[in-house]
Amino acid sequence: MKNTIELTLKVWRQKISEDKGKFETYEVKDIDTSMSFLEMLDVLNEKLTLEGDEPIAFDHDCREGVCGMCGAIVNGEAHGPQKATTLCQLHMRKFKNKDTVVIEPWRAKGFPVIKDLVVDRGSFDRIIAAGGYISVKTGSAPEANNQPIKHENAELAFDAAACIGCGACVAACPNASAMLFTSAKISHLNLLPQGQLEAKERVVQMVEKMDEEGFGNCSNEYECEAACPKEISVSNIARMNREYRDAKFSV
């Protein structure tokens, strides 16, 4: 039982960062509804290639929802309409025949567009390099079971550690804030006993790096949580703000 649909796509095309960029319209036919969204783009790209056009550039790698490489704004929503789902895991059965689908890159000062749907998320790596780690050199670790960890804390830390660094939170936020991303890493490490020693420096350095990278502030819109494919909770932001204040007063 093959189910196929046809769609009108309006896709953001931008050759290089410096270009202005504009929407192009493409008609796609015979889209099998069991395709993933990225497979639909593959099909369009194959067609564009054979017609002598340049295919649409988009980032992707695992296509399993875990590497955080893919992402685009689809009809105004980061990663498209399905909750808790990355773009690569979105399937065409979520669309109706003759729908118009608008596809744009993440838009944020901290994520300059590189080409078409591809953006530069290097700022996220720089935030991690500012303190998103525990400074334990290889070889100096104690026996793993020496330090039992309260189940509840371990679970909370894990919920935060599930962040895949895709940037949907930034793209969804009206202020292009990176607070959900940054706070998730801080919660992951600061909730664990291993992360305590550096907890204060960590929160201060990461928050300051985040500001320096040009990300906006949080005004409690909660759009980030709604867009997050891993359902990272905004409670991490509150925890980060608390820890930041405490650290600033005590450092």
Partner: protein, 636 residues
């Protein structure tokens, strides 16, 4: 003759003795040594972070926009270690023994023993980094049994073990980047290994955003570039996984070992259309409660619910009464292929079998099943639009992991001095078949605990030469790369890169997949050069080489798969025995099980490049088994 440099002495003392004898680099001198690390998966990130901590000058390269996105991120199940926390009889010796046996006696005992020895340090290191492994209510680390192991030695982090381990290694790497100690280059693809006077001295890299081609020299080069499953086009690997760095090192003289040892995972979501871009793995743990079956009647197109119990063939339970649905990966895969080849397969393509949870749900209740597999069922539902609570899953085997890779000695150095190879990219520890949860272990063992010692030994004996990246060897290589790019862009043919990749993939899958025979392999040897030839005349790569051009990236990788594929087939053809993931139909027992030929094939097959399309030269490294006596597997 290949020298594997296995240290003297009893098995359990080899690594300790070796470590106490190797040469050390004076701490004040470490800064003078430059090391290049290619790849930021578990193996590369762990190596880069550790070498930088030791004081070496480290440059790191990866394809993705961030080191955190390497393919290792996708591993689900877990990582093994011989901690014996559950007190169920595990030990370094048992982990070593199981791994050698699981590899079907085609790995090097000394390497495997060392792997088992350092396994416990890995867990300590990861926990200290903040990797959130599963814990019991009392707060201690939890373990589970994985892939049919008789002890519970697998550490796991929900279904995201690879992600959490990689984030740990990535954070260690970024700590060094933050200090300014590591020079990190993302969105860069290494396209050549430069060899000067027989020694690996650097790499040539293409910046994927600007197209710029640059040379980088060093005292040693580490490749941690992952496996080559994507030669088969459809696999469970991430889309960027490739053989390029390994293949180009091979063309510069590095030997390629056992390329025909590939692992096929039995529980993946079946192919559903020609547009399909990858296959998704469903965790092996599903076979603990799911029952595999097909209809007894060929081409039966009734819905599974309408097929009564006595018209179903639970073929694994029937053929392997003692192991049933839990037979090893290769057996489960091959048997699925047999039933589908005979026309009993289900689903739209007839290439799928059922994995049914109805009995388990009846016996244990939906809640228990949900607690065990809820997230997997959800993932399955998202992809296929069918709920495993209501209808049986459909599964089919898919290419998953490659045991073969660049040949390395005990020090993880290839036959080219100065070129080290870690993780899935080398051939070293898994023989002809890898056990579940041991790739993550090997990648981190190589990166955290082995290379820091063995590379020091090499560097101490080879004082820094401060090689100039303007040497003719670098410039010639840069020019060759630029010429090749221009050539590809000018073909302007009528087929896309993916058309060729799919064609090669189908051929390898059909003729060198789950089971292989002489006729099929010879046919593949005829067809691959034809595809390669057509590629060079008829591929269409639009765009330019001066900005991001993803079709051009893929074209380079596919052109390497098209050359490499032939060597893979030569290896499969020459190995006339069955072992592990390599099943030669000509070599089976009366019951149809894989039959090893230890008298003639207990060796590592290391291939030496002789030119594109030329038969490579076979060099053998004999394998001896002192600790684990050779025996034939049986799962009846």
């Amino acid at each position: 003759m290949l020298d594997s440099k296995i240290p003297e002495g009893p098995m359990k003392d080899k690594w300790t003795n070796h470590k106490s004898k190797i040469k050390l680099v004076n701490p004040a001198n470490k800064r003078k040594y430059h090391v290049i690390v290619v790849g930021t998966g578990l193996a590369g990130s762990a190596a880069a972070a550790t070498l930088s901590e030791l004081g070496y000058n480290v440059k790191v390269f990866c394809i993705q926009d961030s080191p955190r996105r390497a393919h290792s991120i996708a591993a689900q199940g877990g990582i093994n270690a011989a901690k014996n926390y559950p007190n169920d009889g595990d030990s370094i010796h048992r982990l070593f023994y199981d791994t050698v046996k699981g590899g079907d006696y085609r790995s090097r005992e000394a390497n495997v023993h060392r792997l088992a020895e350092v396994s416990n340090n890995i867990i300590d290191q990861c926990v200290a980094q903040g990797v959130p492994f599963a814990r019991e209510y009392a707060g201690y680390l939890d373990n589970r049994s994985f892939g049919g192991a008789q002890v519970s030695r697998t550490f796991y982090a929900r279904g995201q073990t690879g992600q959490q381990l990689l984030l740990g290694a990535y954070s260690a790497l970024m700590k060094e980047v933050g200090k300014g100690a590591i020079d990190l280059h993302t969105r860069c693809e290494v396209l050549d290994i430069v060899v000067v006077k027989g020694v690996a001295r650097g790499i040539v890299v293409r910046n994927l955003l600007t197209g710029e081609v640059t040379s980088h020299s060093a005292d040693a080069v580490i490749l941690a570039t992952g496996g080559y499953s994507n030669a088969f086009y459809l696999s469970t690997n991430a889309k960027a996984c490739n053989v390029t760095a390994s293949w180009r090192a091979h063309k510069r003289g590095a030997l390629l070992a056992n390329p025909c040892y590939t692992q096929i995972h039995p529980t993946c979501i079946p192919v559903h259309g020609d547009y399909q871009s990858k296959l998704t793995l469903m965790s092996e743990s599903l076979r603990n409660d799911g029952r595999v079956w097909v209809p007894k009647q060929a081409k039966d197109d009734r819905s599974p619910k309408d097929i009564p119990e006595n018209e179903r063939d639970y073929y694994l339970e029937r053929k392997y009464p003692s192991f049933g649905n839990l037979v090893p990966r290769d057996l489960a895969s091959r048997n699925a292929k047999y039933v589908c080849d005979d026309g009993f397969g289900v689903g739209a393509t007839g290439e799928a079998v059922y994995l049914d949870f109805a009995d388990a749900i009846n016996r244990l209740g939906k809640d228990v099943i949900k607690a065990r597999y809820g997230n997997l069922f959800e993932m399955y539902d998202r992809i296929t639009n069918s709920s495993p609570y209501q209808d049986p899953m459909m599964i089919y085997p898919a290419l998953h992991y490659t045991m073969g890779g660049l040949w390395v000695d005990y020090n993880l150095m290839s036959n080219l001095p100065g070129l080290f190879v870690l993780g899935e990219a080398n051939f070293s520890d898994h023989g002809a078949n890898r056990l579940g949860a041991s790739a993550l272990m090997q990648g981190l063992a190589d990166g955290y605990f082995i290379i820091p010692y063995t590379i020091g030994d090499y560097l101490a004996q080879n004082p820094s030469g401060q090689i100039d990246a303007n040497l003719p060897e670098f410039k010639e290589s840069e020019q060759k790369i630029k010429d090749k790019t221009q050539k590809i862009l000018k073909i302007e043919g009528k087929k896309t890169v993916d058309d060729f990749h799919r064609e090669l993939g189908k051929l390898l899958w059909n003729n060198c997949g789950m089971s292989r025979n002489e006729k099929g392999l010879k046919e593949a040897l005829e067809k691959i050069p034809e595809i390669r030839d057509e590629f060079s005349k008829n591929v269409n790569v639009p765009g330019s080489d001066a900005d991001l051009n993803q079709a051009l990236e893929r074209a380079g990788r596919v052109s390497d798969f098209l050359e490499f594929g032939e060597t893979l087939i030569y290896d499969a053809l020459h190995r006339k025995e069955s072992c592990g993931g390599h099943f030669r139909e000509e070599s089976q027992t009366e019951e149809g099980e894989a039959l090893r030929d230890d008298d003639n094939f207990a060796y590592v097959a290391a291939w030496q490049y002789q030119g594109v399309g030329k038969i490579p030269n076979l060099i053998k490294e004999p394998l001896t088994f002192e600790e684990v006596p050779l025996s034939q597997r049986s799962y009846k």
